[in-house]
């Protein structure tokens, strides 16, 4: 059933201004720090200045005499009051103990919270925190995953016995045979995908009011995954989940990283209960950089790719060391999530990956825009590019030839994932048009000898959306997760006005607008007439366990649930109108705020009358209708998944695959290594659009982030384990001044698997990282080095121009 069953598609698919923007532009939004709360206390964390140290003593005595001091929370109390947060990894790394304050008498990364202090104001709390004396004994630390796996490396978690959080081999097809028989084999010793994050505009803010009378924690704050957060906190605090309520209002970005909110939120909750007053923690930018969630850093070793003499890529193999930092938190899900895009954009037949998740004394990683897939896709795309350059294939033709072809959809990957739809060749063609490819090649030729070099690069990616949580069982067979659902609720108020709330917590993606568009179409109203709930509220029954905003899924799951919920409301309206108008429910259509009899518009009932009758005059209705109708549609969308085959590590792991093909032209200064992007084209295909303007906005955002990550953003640690980009002083997020004008085009390949043919999108797959690496390579040319890093600041590019990485890349045949 599609929405066309009940109404026309007047609004869906159209560019409609965002409902949210009116309040946001007038500064009437309500972000985490805005909500006024009486008697509010403020929490500041005392954090570790060391990468690894034993806590010898904590002295808070100086705090007690300070004005505004309310109290504090110490690790010893947390040890008694909570259990460790739930761990996803199997033995032996399930022995990891992760608490809201440093556990086990040690700190494991710079910025780890050790003491939480509360004051009557943020200033007071900070001044108090400054007087807390923590005596540390620094311990040997490890900040490089390659060193962390050596036998004598310092142990991040003593109780585990190694720094390996997860270790597994994926082996699909027969790569050994392919490497043996292929005409060409390319081998690269090491590639590296660097650590960065999305740095949302709003850092985390959590307000907790503990209501002692009903033993309930009320949380306010941008929460990307409310029910999982509730579950984590409930289990750790040994407190019923239904006595934890999470409300989110306006929310300045998550991009995945705020999934880690349960850790600080637990400390704030404990303090609120202990001190008997509401508590708020407002994260500073430096705190956010230390532990707000980094993207996965990954080392790729012994990478081998098999290619035929005709330029067909057979497959590849590699060993991955994924640096997850000091705690696993959402990890080691990254160890399986990359397999959603095992094939990347290509018809690979063989793939073998030995993957290990590694602890280091660095900030914990969290899901971050393109989570775990972009690392793998960067590797595959980089190898495609290296192979093309080394084997003498044209990089455009080489990709075109190996892309999954339009007629092959639905396409099954090496591991049983099903790519739903797409047209990669057309997308590439459009991307090359955007950068005026032939003209760019002319520019490139003309740049020879000018001191500037021009390079052209392509980035091909997928944004897989709507997870099958059954994939969690591939990293730990005992995890009780499978499939995916989302909830939604639509109801008609006493005057006929329509209210909707979804389980997907928007953090800037315009969910209120897209929800209003599809609901308006089903009810025959305009989007302006649909009242959309801002944010989310776990008390409203619109959520399921997987609810939230992550993993590029709202257009499928959130919209799917709201469609199902609206369908229930439509049915109720039809029942009421049919009984009043003397028709059958099937004859009732909804149009212009009325329920009317098809073909007989004179027989119509305004929504206000429908609502009035149900809410205030049920005696007007036949008993069987009055008993059934409450004018509330609450429904779940279930994504059609099965539990994967754990033995063969096969199964369909995500429902949709949006694609992004990017192309860029850049210029490198031969004396400095500086990069200037001259042209940038991006082609997005996310199926049937709901609101093209919102899609374009998301594509622009993801592109800017990717360009910024490729050239500027780097969470580098020094040898002492100190984060050197601990705030925006040194973490340069690109501004408009750094960017070219972005050129956009789209392809529409509707998904056959989703309610309206739309696909999740917004993460974007990190295409700029691939495109820029390829363009740098193209500019550097055959006599320079090989781009083996995802992060390429000027100094590194200058190094490439001077050669130097040759020996690590070999064409074996």
């Amino acid at each position: 059933m599609t929405m066309q069953d009940t109404a026309t598609s007047t609004w869906t698919g159209k560019t409609v201004p965002r409902k949210e923007d009116d309040r946001l532009l007038k500064a009437q939004g309500e972000f985490g720090d805005d909500t006024p709360i009486a008697h509010l206390g403020h929490v500041v964390f005392v954090r570790s200045p060391y990468a690894h140290a034993r806590i010898l003593d904590i002295d808070v005595s100086a705090a007690e005499s300070l004005p505004g001091y309310l109290g504090c929370l110490l690790p010893d109390e947390v040890d008694v009051l909570t259990d460790g947060f739930m761990e996803l990894q199997p033995a032996p790394a399930d022995a990891e103990v992760d608490k809201c304050l440093a556990a086990g008498g040690k700190v494991r990364f710079v910025g780890e919270p050790v003491v939480a202090v509360a004051g009557t104001s943020r200033q007071a709390a900070r001044d108090v925190a400054a007087t807390v004396v923590v005596d540390y004994e620094p311990l040997p630390h490890v900040v490089d995953a390659r060193r962390a796996v050596e036998p004598e490396a310092p142990q991040v978690h003593d109780e585990i016995g190694s720094n390996v959080a997860w270790d597994g081999v994926y082996d699909w097809g027969d790569i050994d045979a392919a490497l043996k028989s292929a005409d060409h084999v390319i081998e690269v010793d090491e590639l590296h995908f660097h650590r960065f994050s999305s740095t949302p505009l709003e850092c985390s803010v959590v307000t907790v009011s503990y209501d002692a009378g009903i033993d309930t924690f009320n949380l306010i704050g941008g929460c990307a995954m409310p029910q999982i957060t509730t579950l984590m906190m409930a289990a750790a605090m040994r407190h019923p989940a239904e006595k934890i309520r999470i409300v989110s209002k306006d929310f300045g970005g998550s991009f995945g990283v705020k999934i880690g909110m349960y850790v600080p939120a637990t400390a704030v909750a404990l303090l609120s209960r202990k001190l008997g007053r509401p508590m708020r923690w407002t994260e500073t930018r430096t705190e956010h950089h230390w532990m707000g969630g980094h993207g996965n850093e990954r080392w790729f070793h012994n990478v081998k790719m098999a290619v035929t003499s005709e330029g067909r890529v057979l497959g590849l193999s590699y060993d991955a060391l994924d640096d997850v930092g000091a705690y696993t938190r959402y990890e080691p899900l990254g160890a399986v999530i990359w397999t959603q895009v095992a094939n990347a954009c290509y018809q690979l037949q063989h793939l073998k990956v030995h993957y290990r998740s590694i602890y280091t004394n660095k900030g914990p990683v969290h899901p971050n825009r393109g989570y775990s897939r972009l690392q793998h896709m960067w590797l595959v795309e980089r190898m495609m590019d290296i192979a093309a350059h080394r084997l003498g294939f044209d990089p455009v033709q080489f990709r075109l030839q190996n892309y999954v072809q339009p007629e092959q959809y639905p396409y099954e990957t090496v591991n049983g994932c099903v790519y739903d739809s797409g047209n990669l060749p057309l997308s590439l063609e459009k991307a090359l048009d955007l950068i005026e490819y032939d003209d760019a090649r002319r520019l490139q030729r003309e740049s020879a000898g000018t001191g500037k070099r021009i390079g052209i690069g392509i980035g091909s990616t997928l944004d897989s959306g709507t997870n099958n949580f059954g994939q969690a069982r591939l990293i730990n067979q005992f995890l009780p997760f499978s499939g995916n659902t989302e909830g939604g609720l639509v109801r008609m108020g006493v005057d006929g006005s329509v209210y909707t709330v979804t389980g997907g917590v928007a953090f800037g993606q315009g969910h209120e607008t897209t929800v209003a568009q599809v609901v308006a179409d089903m009810l025959g109203l305009t989007p302006d007439e649909i009242i959309t709930h801002r944010g989310s509220d776990s008390a409203l029954s619109a959520q399921t366990g997987f609810s939230g905003s992550y993993a590029s899924q709202f257009a499928v799951t959130g919209i799917g649930a709201i469609l199902n919920a609206t369908r229930k409301l439509v049915r109720e309206i039809q029942l009421v109108a049919a009984s009043i108008l003397g028709a059958t429910p099937e004859e009732i259509v909804l149009e212009g705020g009325h329920a009317l009899v098809l073909g007989d518009p004179e027989r119509a009932l305004p929504f206000a009358a429908v609502a009035g009758i149900v809410h205030f005059s049920p005696a007007d209705l036949p008993a069987e209708v009055a008993d059934e109708v409450g004018l509330v549609g609450r429904a779940v969308y279930r994504a059609p998944f099965e539990i994967p085959d754990l033995e063969r590590k096969r199964g369909n792991l995500t429902l949709t695959y949006a694609s992004q093909i990017h192309a860029c032209v850049l210029e490198i200064d031969e004396e400095t290594g500086e990069v200037k992007i001259l042209r940038y084209g991006m082609v997005d295909d996310c199926g049937t659009p709901i609101n093209p303007m919102i899609i374009q906005g998301q594509v622009h955002g993801a592109t800017v982030h990717g360009i910024s990550a490729a050239l500027f953003e780097h969470f580098a640690y020094d040898d002492d384990g100190q984060l050197l980009a601990a705030n925006f002083y040194d973490y340069h997020a690109a501004t408009a001044l750094d960017l070219p004008s972005l050129r956009y085009d789209s392809v529409v390949s509707p998904s056959p698997f989703t309610p309206i043919g739309a696909k999740g999108m917004g993460e974007g797959g990190g295409a700029p990282l691939h495109a820029i690496a390829a363009a740098i390579q193209d500019a550097v040319g055959g006599d320079g080095g090989v781009v083996l890093e995802s992060f390429n600041p000027p100094e590194r590019i200058l190094g490439l121009l001077n050669g130097g990485t040759e020996s690590t890349v070999r064409v074996l045949r």
Binding site: R47, Y50, N727
Partner: protein
């Protein structure tokens, strides 16, 4: 961060070797105040670095790991709120015909926010701070003894 410096003083190697354990001399150094000896026999003091953005007062612990007439090894830890600096200081004394040449080598490790935001300036600030304290302390020694 590895730093070093050299200067010449009229103090004798024997006098210099005692410097890091004698609060009376350190008290005379203008950037140090509240000099005291703690329960472990370490010197505690407030060291203040001056910058155009204001003073940076650090609660400092000075522990002499080893000291003789040819050299000393001193461990200094400074804390201020959530900022931290650890210094391992090796000082050697070389008598010349008329004076003593002091050479110092320091391994300075910043912890917390300062490690990031001070990464381009900490080198000079720390070098000047260490050199300043040592020179002044050495000079003060003469006036007091």
């Amino acid at each position: 961060m590895k730093l070093s410096g050299t200067f010449t003083t009229q103090a004798s190697p024997a006098q210099l070797a005692r410097l890091s354990t004698e609060p009376r001399q350190l008290e005379q150094v203008t950037s140090l105040r509240d000099v005291a000896v703690d329960a472990h026999g370490h010197i505690r003091a407030i060291f203040t670095a001056a910058t155009p953005l204001g003073a940076i007062p650090l609660t400092t612990t000075i522990a002499t790991d080893r000291a003789d007439e040819s050299s000393s090894r001193v461990l200094v830890r400074g804390t201020r709120g959530q900022h931290r600096v650890d210094v391992t200081l090796e000082i050697s004394y070389q008598p010349t015909a008329t004076a003593t040449q002091v050479s110092w080598h320091a391994d300075v490790r910043l912890g917390g926010t300062g490690a990031s935001v001070a990464q381009r300036v900490a080198h000079d600030i720390a070098r000047n701070a260490i050199d300043g304290v040592l020179q002044q302390a050495a000079g003060q020694h003469l006036t007091l003894t």
